[in-house]
């Protein structure tokens, strides 16, 4: 039972971290290596609003998501747009931006374990004899809600449909009058908001540290490679595969192999099916 409960929690936590990365890549074919940094930066934004401006927690979260969305959009509009289409340059540029943001915070004195966010609800309950705190239960609910809203958005909203169109076939979408750069800008903003949302849900269980930016980026990449780059449905399924594999490893093998699982999953996927579970990027080449 503990594997089931904490497997679900771990999987949804991974899905929340990765879904923004998958969305941006799916729509704009842009590997946003600043994703982990945006996660940490949003944690620091909420912390700053809460502790410096002393604004209500919910309002702080909403405000931070708007800010992080604008930061993400600005990164695309002022930097990444210039290197769009050049995959290596995109990776280098976005990674450099992330690095600058993270190390900037470290340089600015945001280090140590004293930066924390309050949990939404204090306390815990026992489910079938397994203790679970309310924040983790909320994480599962919010994670599920995000996936549902994202599905509704990309199936019933005009912009969401345009984003999907872009993800399916950029040239055809452009022929129908969809502005590719505008969609990439929206995708980057939305991806940043999703990274920020993951931060506000996950960080109250721990603390805000610069190093998390690098860890979360690796986890997001691992999930997206296994799920298939660009497929957010694949990302969700891969998150469950890796999430459960991690928990089973901790329980039955050894806890220090926890981090190895994600990296192992990348290697296995690249060897057996480079396009991932639901990726279409190299599907044709693989068939050939």
């Amino acid at each position: 039972m503990d594997i089931l409960i904490y497997g679900i929690i771990n999987s949804i936590s991974l899905a929340l971290i990765a879904i923004g990365f998958a969305l941006v890549y799916g729509i704009s074919r842009l590997a946003n290596f600043a994703h982990g940094a945006l996660y940490v930066v949003n944690g620091f934004i909420v912390w700053s609003i809460l502790n410096i401006l002393h604004i209500n927690y919910l309002l702080s979260i909403i405000l931070s998501l708007i800010i992080i969305g604008l930061i993400g959009a600005a990164i695309y509009q002022f930097i990444l747009i210039r290197v769009r289409g050049m995959a290596i340059s995109e990776i280098i540029a976005s990674y450099a931006i992330g690095l600058a943001m993270l190390e900037g915070f470290r340089w600015g004195g945001f280090k140590g374990m004293t930066y924390t966010l309050p949990v939404f609800i204090r306390g815990s309950i026992e489910i079938a004899g397994i203790p679970v705190d309310f924040q983790r239960i909320l994480l599962v609910l919010i994670g599920g809600l995000v996936v549902l809203l994202l599905w509704l958005f990309t199936h019933y909203n005009r912009i969401g449909l345009a984003l999907r169109g872009m993800a399916q076939d950029e040239r055809a979408a452009m022929m129908l009058g969809i502005d590719s750069d505008k969609m990439a800008l929206i995708a980057m903003g939305l991806g940043s908001i999703l990274a920020g949302l993951a931060a506000v849900v996950i960080l109250p269980m721990g603390n805000i540290v610069v190093e998390a930016g690098y860890d979360k980026l690796i986890m997001a990449i691992a999930v997206c490679i296994v799920g298939g780059l660009g497929s957010w449905v694949g990302a969700v399924i891969a998150a469950f595969l890796i999430g459960f594999a991690q928990i089973i490893t901790v329980k039955y093998i050894a806890s220090h192999f926890h981090m190895v699982i994600a990296l192992l999953a990348i290697i296995i996927t690249l060897v057996l099916r480079p396009s991932g579970l639901f990726g279409r990027q190299k599907e044709l080449e693989e068939r050939v």
Partner: protein, 428 residues
């Protein structure tokens, strides 16, 4: 004519005198060369930044009092800090070695004090210190007994290396085990579950505790659970501890994520007392606020007295107050009081040696005997390890405290204890 030439002479004399006065008044002061203390520290982490602050404070105090008397000449200390990043996950040891070399060659460090902080990096740096004949005093982080054993084994090569802080074997056998046995006796508990970080000192320390506690008749639950640096979820380990009816959870981790472990412990109401042999997060004064009080009852070993308020020696509270005044926070944890004492010990050795020559300084350091912030400071002349004790009159004393109602209450050793250990209400 005579009158005119008289005036001329007077004017020339005045001009010459004025020129001489102006020259002496405006010439740059004679620069007294400073004694450069090169500090390789992992400044993004507690054991690095607290050391930097403590060294800075000590140097400011020493310089304000006139500096160091080197054979009759007063010379100030100058601090040069470079971030080694050796406590960060994934940063290779070679980075720290580059920093040590840069401090020696680039910054012209006369002495190396502080780090490297990670045991693996400090062990690797020993050869560099030997190569450049630089006397070094380790003040933080490095707990591995290999460090002073190497000095004892190859004295001529590694005689430059001193350690003024504790080491794992004494910490385990002289402090942690007696404290655990005391807890066992007082509360009738004997089931221990060990959670450690995947680093050299933690693996060694955790394994040693498991072995000794088993010999002492305690039930050690399984093998120590090992977590990679940067782990953010400890739920499965805690569930195991609960299922196996652990009564004490021994934690040996120097990563900041240990605060997550304690938050989870509280949220899950695990009926076991958390005992941090090394637990970086819980050491700091800001821990209480950061965990919203969820870390109450957690025991933390801060290795040396003075890293939390106590009355170990008359200098302890004086240091605590000075640190608080300078940095607006109490001494923060392991590495603070030792890093503060290192410049004082070095000053004392330099003044006795009357030179900066390494061999003379080594000889003087070997003869160090001073009452410091955490007790009597002496080095073992063979291994250059500070001599530990549970009595501040005899040697360097450690400190284990417990978080109680927002305060760090020293509970071990008995001679400096400020209160008694308490159990969380859900354990009773």
């Amino acid at each position: 004519m005579k009158k005119k030439s008289m005036w001329g002479i007077i004017i020339v004399v005045i001009v010459v005198i004025a020129a001489v006065v102006i020259y002496y008044a405006t010439r740059p002061p004679k620069i007294v060369p400073g004694i450069v203390l090169g500090c390789p520290l992992s400044t993004a982490f507690l054991y690095g930044w607290d050391a930097e602050r403590a060294i800075t404070l000590a140097v400011e105090e020493i310089n304000a009092a006139g500096g160091v008397n080197v054979a009759g000449k007063k010379r100030p200390f100058k601090v040069e800090v470079i971030d080694t990043r050796d406590l960060e996950p994934g940063v290779p040891v070679s980075e720290a070695l580059l920093v040590v070399e840069k401090l020696i060659l680039g910054k012209k460090a006369d002495f190396i004090i502080g780090g490297p902080v990670r045991s693996e990096a400090a062990l690797a740096a020993m050869d560099l210190l030997s190569k450049y004949k630089k006397v070094s005093i380790l003040t933080t982080g490095v707990l591995t007994p290999k460090y002073h054993r190497r000095v004892a084994k190859e004295y001529d090569k590694f005689k430059y290396c001193f350690r003024i802080t504790g080491e794992a074997v004494w910490m385990v056998t002289g402090e942690i085990i007696p404290c655990l046995l005391d807890i066992g006796k007082r509360f009738g508990v004997d089931r221990i579950f060990i959670m450690i970080q995947d680093v050299s000192h933690a693996r060694g320390g955790g394994g040693l505790i498991a072995k000794i506690m088993a010999k002492k008749g305690w039930h050690v639950i399984g093998k120590p659970e090992i977590y990679p640096t940067g782990t953010t979820d400890f739920s499965m380990g805690l569930i195991k501890a609960k299922k196996e009816k652990a009564q004490v959870i021994l934690i040996w981790m120097d990563m900041p994520e240990t605060s997550i472990l304690l938050k989870q412990w509280y949220d899950m109401k695990i009926p076991a007392l958390p005992f941090g042999s090394i637990i970086a997060a819980a050491e700091q004064p800001g821990f209480w606020k950061a965990t919203e009080g969820k870390g109450e009852y957690c025991l933390a070993n801060v290795v040396n007295a003075g890293n939390a308020p106590s009355n170990a020696t008359p200098w302890t509270m004086k240091f605590v107050k000075a640190y608080k005044k300078r940095w607006n926070i109490e001494p923060e944890g392991y590495g603070t009081s030792t890093s503060y004492m290192a410049p004082y010990v070095l000053k004392d050795a330099i003044e006795r040696a009357g030179t900066l020559e390494p061999d003379a300084i080594i000889e003087a350091l070997e003869k160090t005997d001073m009452m410091g912030v955490y007790g009597r400071i002496r080095f073992d002349p063979k291994s250059h390890q500070v001599i530990p004790s549970v009595d501040p009159e005899e040697g360097a004393v450690g400190t284990i405290f417990q978080w109680q109602a927002g305060k760090r209450i020293v509970v071990f050793p008995k001679k400096i204890a400020m209160g008694e250990i308490k159990l969380p209400p859900w354990m009773k």
